[in-house]
Symmetry: C2
Subunit: 313 residues, 2 copies
């Protein structure tokens, strides 16, 4: 038996962020609740960004207020700056359930960082240091995602030594978990194994490694498997593969939760999430947004005689 791998369900945030049509708050809450029922225990539920820039995420506080008040589930709010962390803190004030984690973001490319959040890499490092401290001091789990870690839509290749150095700085700044994100969907397994291995060494044994893949070029499962081999224990994914890639309009987006469950449970690795239930959530949510979701496992179905590792014993 292998060590279990934790899946972070990001469908309600990363998955929906680029949907043109606004999804109702109740449907977002239902998506989150149904994925918890299926077994998800960490979920990205909101983004504390400017509602004018991302209207789909404008109801963040309303979503959070309606979440099931469970002690065994950890809710993540995405934070791009200190203002975001302050809203995450606010979500917990006055006995409210709120979010549990401040999901900070550091972009590993100057051009991408400046276009996406108006920050150079070094400005991002300084901001994230403050964000992580602020989160920790207010009882939020301080974690950070290094985005564009495998490539930048504008600059192309991103040097590994830069990402390793940024990860070490974030560990030093108090991040308890660091994610390597292939935001553009360009990575291949050999690259993932090397970068994750080098980051694993650089950040020390106390920092958890997470990885975030997009299936833009069909490499997500291969990359996830390579990441696990290099010491990553947590993977992001979205139900159905919700979420496009803003830099490749015709491409698929996040790796699908169903596809990761299939990969892992077939390989003898527990995820704790039930594949059949996830496929049912997919079918329901496709009705909500009025189109099929990309997950190939949901489309192909569970094979004859298949048995999940999580069902054993």
């Amino acid at each position: 038996m292998n060590e279990p791998i934790q899946i972070v369900e990001v469908g309600a945030r990363d998955g929906l962020q680029n949907e043109a049509e606004i999804i109702e708050t109740a449907d977002k809450v239902r998506l989150i609740t149904r994925m918890i029922d299926a077994g998800a225990r960490r979920l990205e539920v909101a983004s504390f960004v400017n509602p004018k820039r991302v209207p789909q995420m404008a109801d963040g506080e309303a979503v959070i207020a309606a979440l099931p008040d469970r002690g065994d589930v950890s809710y993540i709010g995405l934070c791009l700056n200190k203002r975001g962390v302050l809203r995450a803190i606010e979500s917990r004030e006055g006995n409210k359930r709120g979010v549990d984690e401040a999901g900070c973001v550091l972009v590993a490319s100057d051009t991408f960082g400046q276009r996406n959040q108006g920050q150079t890499i070094e400005e991002g490092v300084a901001e994230n240091r403050d964000m992580l401290r602020l989160a920790r001091e207010n009882g939020l789990v301080p974690q950070v995602t290094i985005s564009a870690a495998f490539g930048c839509p504008f600059e192309g290749a991103v040097p590994m030594e830069r990402v390793v150095r940024l990860a070490a700085e974030m560990a030093e700044a108090g991040a308890v978990e660091i994610a390597l994100a292939d935001t553009v969907g360009v990575a291949v397994p050999v690259q993932v194994a090397e970068l994750a291995g080098r980051v694993r060494e650089a950040v020390g044994p106390d920092v958890r490694l997470r990885a975030h893949f997009h299936d833009t070029r069909g490499m997500a499962a291969a990359n996830a498997w390579a990441a696990i081999g290099a010491g990553v224990t947590v993977l992001d994914s979205s139900l159905g593969g919700l979420g496009g890639c803003p830099f490749a309009p015709n491409a698929t987006g996040n790796v699908a939760t169903e596809d990761l469950i299939y990969l892992l449970e077939t390989s003898g690795v527990e995820t704790g999430i039930d594949l059949e239930q996830a496929i049912a959530v997919n079918a329901w949510f496709a009705g909500v947004i009025g189109k099929d979701l990309p997950s190939v496992v949901s489309r192909a179905g569970i094979p004859q005689g298949w048995r999940a590792t999580s069902q054993d014993g």
Copy 2:
């Protein structure tokens, strides 16, 4: 620099076999020719099956007669029985170019074998022994694909020891190359690595290992990479991911040639096939069959700053 990996282009046969609308012979020949121009050097070009059962393949002899007469390219004809091998031999008679390889098929499941070609496993072993001998005696490269090697659409799991034993028998019968085919698209990398490793050991160093993956559940790139790690040096794929999965009607089929080129060339492994040209063939052929082909790499495009390994030096 890693060892190069050979890609066998199967688009014109496996890719088209299940297309409902008959593709014109000239378009099949053009598909093959354009893939040769892009760098492919081994291609599956025809299937010597009963034209009444597979009308799409009825023009096999006409396709072969129209192929470029090149000495640096190897053409494969699929053979399901001795009658098929005799047609492969006939394709070369009277100074005709013909095919170079008899691509034999052994099904690793009784139920699937009986439904697909009216043979139990043991009947298939006996038939393939005769087919391989017949091919060799007549100057055709004798090679065999073990289909349903990772799972059967009717029986579910297929025991590894059975596939290892069948591979050893085929090696002993004179196959110079043995392919492990995930016909149903159910395999995961851990399984591929184990089976390919065990087969590698069982067949001895003189037999080449090939693998054939379907991307039915998004695992094709992961499986291809695992196969290479276990000693596989040849991979089947189809331009654009042509070819559905008859057992999962909504699912994608063969792994796309473009996706494999992207995986390998980005990883420092030469394929000899030009990605840009393959994407152009995809665009042209999508027009021929009047629908988009599944390849995600063709849909997403080549990333900023990308450089193929085959372009180096």
